[in-house]
């Protein structure tokens, strides 16, 4: 049952990603990206990393895709440029590389896909918090600086664009 589910979710993720690249209408592209993120979130749920899955849904679909959608709609009814020969080749190469990476990874380390200890999602999250707040507390402070820089940078970029226009 988890195997079938895994292949289903993986197919949703990959198809969503391909559609996001290939669709002519940018709004459809953004929504396909959301579907792809939903597939990734489901994969996280399947891996018993439920919190990361919830995180994925709330942040990526709830905020990032919406930001993309808004920007696309703000730009207006302009359609994205259609798929060209070069992009088809790039897509083919990308799929090939992804397959090689997947197969290579699976061949290289069967142990990489086995969990070391059984753990409920909650204790998983407790371990995550422990390492985030205690072990890597300095990194957390640096992360807050990164977030702060992101906020100020985004505002400055958006503002200056309007100022020159």
């Amino acid at each position: 049952m988890p195997d079938i589910a895994f292949f289903g979710f993986a197919a949703v993720t990959v198809l969503g990603a391909i559609l996001a690249l290939e669709s002519r209408d940018l709004v459809y592209g953004a929504v396909s990206l959301g579907v792809s993120f939903l597939g990734v979130a489901s994969l996280f749920f399947l891996l018993d990393a439920a919190y990361i899955g919830v995180f994925q849904i709330a942040v990526y679909i709830g905020a990032v895709v919406i930001l993309i959608l808004f920007t696309v709609m703000l730009v207006g009814p302009a359609k994205g440029e259609g798929p060209t020969e070069f992009r088809r080749t790039a897509l083919f190469i990308g799929i090939l590389v992804a397959m090689m990476l997947g197969v290579g990874g699976a061949l290289a380390s069967p142990s990489a896909f086995s969990t070391n200890q059984p753990c409920t999602p909650e204790c998983d999250l407790a371990q995550f918090s422990q390492s985030l707040l205690v072990t890597y507390s300095v990194q957390l402070a640096v992360l807050s600086l990164v977030f702060a820089a992101a906020v100020i940078g985004a505002l400055t970029l958006a503002k200056s664009e309007r100022g020159t226009a």
Binding site: M1, P2, A5, F45, L46, D48, A50, Y51, V54, F55, A58, V59, G62, A63, V64, I66, L67, F70, M73, L74, G76, P77, P118, T120, P121, E122, L125, A126, F128, S129, Q130, L132, L133, V134, S137, L140, A141, L143, S144, L145, F147, A148, A150, V151, I152, A154, L155, A158, K159, R162, G163
Partner: protein
């Protein structure tokens, strides 16, 4: 063998699938026996009784765009706070998470105040 948490997730997925099928079946049942009589006027969009003019997807004020930008960042911050709140009492050594999260939030309140200050200056946007 699946973990107990995983079984609940599969129940939930099953529920969503059933919940998806029911309105779709209802939609097909409703659409098929109808004798649709579309007319040009009926298919026009509503614009206060006038014939619609101009683009349907109008321009909208960009004035509130900074809120959307900072929302993306502070959504992530809220998720970090959830992780802290869950382990408030179980962290080892106890109470060790408070200073890191205080510093984390303290650093992030400064750009928040700055962005709210910027967002309130309407002529910038």
């Amino acid at each position: 063998m699946v973990a107990p948490g995983l079984a609940e997730i599969f129940y939930y997925l099953g529920f969503i699938v059933v919940a998806t099928l029911v309105p779709i079946i209802a939609l097909f049942l409703i659409v098929t026996p109808r004798d649709a009589k579309p007319s040009p006027m009926k298919l026009e969009t509503y614009e206060a009784g006038q014939m619609p003019s101009g683009r349907g997807r109008t321009r909208f004020i960009i004035q509130y765009y900074p809120y959307l930008l900072i929302f993306v960042i502070y959504d992530v911050v809220a998720m970090f706070l959830f992780a802290w709140a869950l382990t408030l009492r179980t962290l080892q050594p106890p109470g060790s998470g408070t200073w890191p999260i205080l510093i984390f939030m303290g650093v992030l309140l400064v750009p928040l105040a700055y962005s709210i200050h910027l967002a309130s200056q309407r002529d910038l946007w």
